[in-house]
């Protein structure tokens, strides 16, 4: 059976190489074991999902024979230390993850602002081991991919913001993939925002060197205590050979606010799953994403947004522009539980098929068990407005440029939704560049520095 093979090879590798895994610190050791314990049953029960393109299914993504960094060799430590991601070109607290090795930048490690703690899970101060372990255990085996992440996780990031603390500069996590051989990286980020805390996190995915297959199996957990606010921006600008399976889970207590904003500019096959849980009254969640896909890229975004409290609000907005033979998929489910009164949920998905062979699947779903709700969703798939195209051409704007401008305008409201102004402006530029045909790899994107540092 395919699932047994594709996942089983890594489990076997882990079991067979116990010697390589000596001295794994807590809470990682416990998490690894939890993954190992849960996997056989999960693999057995695994069925490929029907609502995403085949290539985005977990068994398909895990099927190749990737290398795994079981011994946790630090392959690019010097590279990572020196790296400065210029994509957002902003002043941030930097963490670099080279493949699956975490490097908290020196200034962040040594001079972080009061109330902000950012640690590698391998070098967690003892007072945080318990708390981090507790949070990790919440998502140790939700599904096969999460369990695989738990099993193989050699390192991860724990971000804690103390109650009442507002962190001005964003914490930026730069994921770099750089290897001479195909690799599977397991990455995990835990954001733990205390009561009334406020934090912005920016995740950037990059790859260096073309032609090497890479799978990024990532799990992100966000815990927002009462009145906390977490913005999580996620920019994927890697390569056609870089695939990602990204699962994000949030738990929101009352009056908290979480914004999740994924932007797909370049990559191979990407499957994002967002499991958002609004459990405290007056919680607010926003998920806004855009994907510009070309060539044979495949992008699936699946949102399950659960309202289980009163007066909570959620908003989803996803836009896709699909070129060439790209394939997009959007699944959004809003669940309003019994008793979740005064819920206000909206969900919008808009897609443009630019090329003949592009295709799009959408499934915007509502599951509602409570009558005191306002819930709506809309999905459209179509083309750019032909009247607008002609109007622009009649003013002398060539057809391709008019198309580009309209596509950019189409995406504008998603980008405008980014609350952090410096990043918003930067994102407008990135989208414009991407639409202008710049094959947004590390070499051509704004982070021109990247190659300089990584080729040494």
């Amino acid at each position: 059976m395919k699932a047994a093979q594709s996942f089983g090879q890594y489990l076997a590798l882990w079991v067979d190489n116990e010697a390589l895994r000596q001295g794994v610190p807590e809470p990682l050791a416990t998490l690894n074991s939890a993954g190992a314990e849960a996997l056989p049953a999960l693999i057995e029960a695994y069925r490929a999902p029907k609502d995403v393109p085949r290539a985005c299914a977990a068994d398909e993504l895990f099927a190749p024979d990737y290398g795994v960094n079981l011994a946790h060799h630090d392959m690019h430590a010097s590279v990572a230390e020196a790296f400065h991601c210029g994509v957002p070109n902003l002043n941030s607290h930097l963490v670099v993850v080279a493949n699956d090795v975490v490097h908290v930048s020196a200034p962040l490690r040594d001079e972080a602002p009061a109330g902000l703690k950012v640690y590698s899970l391998r070098s967690l101060p003892s007072e945080y081991v318990g708390r981090a372990g507790e949070l990790l255990a919440l998502h140790s085996a939700d599904n096969v991919a999460v369990a695989m992440n738990s099993l193989l996780l050699g390192d991860g990031i724990y971000i804690r913001v103390e109650p009442g603390v507002t962190v001005e500069r964003p914490v930026q996590i730069v994921n770099i993939f750089h290897s001479d051989m195909p690799m599977l990286s397991s990455r995990r980020v835990v954001v733990d925002a205390g009561e009334g805390a406020s934090l912005r996190v920016l995740l950037c995915d990059h790859s260096q060197g073309a032609g090497v297959q890479h799978l990024n199996n990532q799990v992100v957990q966000v815990h927002a205590a009462p009145h906390a606010s977490v913005d999580l921006y996620d920019i994927e600008e890697s390569s056609a050979d870089t695939h990602r399976l990204n699962q994000l889970f949030t738990h929101q207590e009352h009056d908290s606010r979480v914004v999740v904003s994924p932007t797909f500019l370049h990559g191979g096959v990407t499957a994002n799953h967002y499991g958002l849980n609004l459990t405290g009254d007056h919680a607010e969640a926003e998920v806004t994403g855009l994907a510009i896909c070309a060539d044979k890229q495949q992008v699936a975004n699946n949102v399950v947004l659960r309202h289980d409290c009163e007066h909570s609000t959620s908003r989803q907005l996803f836009k896709y522009a699909l070129y060439d033979e790209a394939r997009g998929s959007f699944g959004g489910k809003v669940v309003v539980e019994h008793g979740a009164r005064f819920t206000d949920a909206s969900q919008t998905n808009r897609n443009i098929l630019v090329s003949e062979k592009a295709r799009m699947d959408a499934s915007p779903q509502l599951e509602i068990y409570c009558d005191e709700v306002k819930a709506s969703h809309g999905a459209t798939t179509g083309q750019l407005d032909e009247r607008a195209l002609f109007y622009m051409q009649a003013r002398g704007i060539p057809a391709d440029e008019a198309e580009r401008m309209l596509t950019q305008a189409f995406m504008a409201d998603v980008v405008d939704n980014i609350g952090y102004e410096v990043l918003r402006q930067r994102m407008h530029v990135l989208v414009e560049k991407r639409l202008a045909g710049a094959s947004a790899s590390c070499e051509t994107c704004a982070s021109a520095d990247c190659s300089k540092y990584t080729r040494q």
Partner: protein
């Protein structure tokens, strides 16, 4: 060889297999204002659309020579670069594209076509400011999306503003008076008149005489069932105002 600005010969065109223009002949020289009038459905807007290259229409015959260039062979954008301007009867709303970005793209595309360097941001803003004054267009409109949320009058003024920026040698005003109150009409017509020179020409497409009180035509043509059935001086418009279109219809339908 002539010094004609536009020569249209036996132009035929239609939409979805239905023929609407059944052989149009029209000659326009620099400095002239031509009014094209006619009852609803006579093909007025089709004519303007075909000349501007609206992809909804299919040309089935004839030709249009625009200062020596085969107009119908050009893309809509190149027609614009060559100096053809269409003021749309229904200006299109383009959410998310600001007026500034829109006009800068238009101006620089034309400059590129003409082999000129792009205009500097400062010069461009200055140009916008100057031209805005011609139609008394609010400064705030510049930062708004193209035509989005504009009132009927604002949309038409915006059209004339764009005409002022692009400095065409042939402007086609398609029902520019529709939906305008008398004050807006005066401003729009005033703008058009300010832009008139002896080098450029204007085609005014209208259903009513009203606009022609403000933009004085040299020639008036009556379009009916896809053909120009009458041509004359300004007095023809007055006659139409008085007698309506019925006598024309009767006369033509008799034939």
């Amino acid at each position: 060889m002539t010094d004609n600005l536009l020569t249209v010969r036996n132009l035929r065109a239609g939409i979805e297999g239905k023929e609407i223009l059944r052989g149009i002949d029209l000659t326009i020289r620099p400095g002239e204002v031509h009014a094209i009038m006619g009852p609803n459905g006579s093909g007025k807007s089709t004519l303007s659309g075909v000349l501007a290259g609206d992809p909804r229409f299919t040309v089935t015959g004839g030709e249009a020579i625009f200062h020596g260039v085969d107009l119908l062979a050009l893309s809509p954008a190149d027609r614009s670069h060559e100096g053809l301007f269409l003021s749309f009867q229904y200006p299109v709303e383009i959410p998310g594209v600001t007026m500034v970005n829109f006009m800068r793209a238009a101006v620089n595309a034309k400059r590129k076509y003409l082999g000129e360097a792009p205009m500097s941001a400062a010069d461009f803003l200055k140009l916008m400011r100057q031209k805005r004054a011609i139609v008394e267009l609010d400064n705030k409109l510049a930062s708004r999306s193209v035509n989005e949320g504009f009132s009927g009058g604002e949309k038409k003024r915006n059209e004339i503003f764009q005409m002022a920026v692009l400095e065409p040698c042939l402007s086609i005003l398609d029902e520019t008076d529709s939906g305008l109150d008398i004050d807006a009409l005066r401003i729009v017509a005033g703008g058009v008149n300010k832009l008139r020179t002896d080098k450029n020409a204007t085609i005014v497409i209208t259903h009513y005489q009203r606009l022609l009180d403000y933009i004085k035509p040299d020639f008036v043509h009556i379009l009916y069932k896809g053909r120009i059935v009458y041509s004359g001086g300004p007095e023809l418009a007055l006659e139409l105002e008085e007698k309506g279109y019925d006598w024309i219809k009767e006369e033509v339908d008799k034939q």
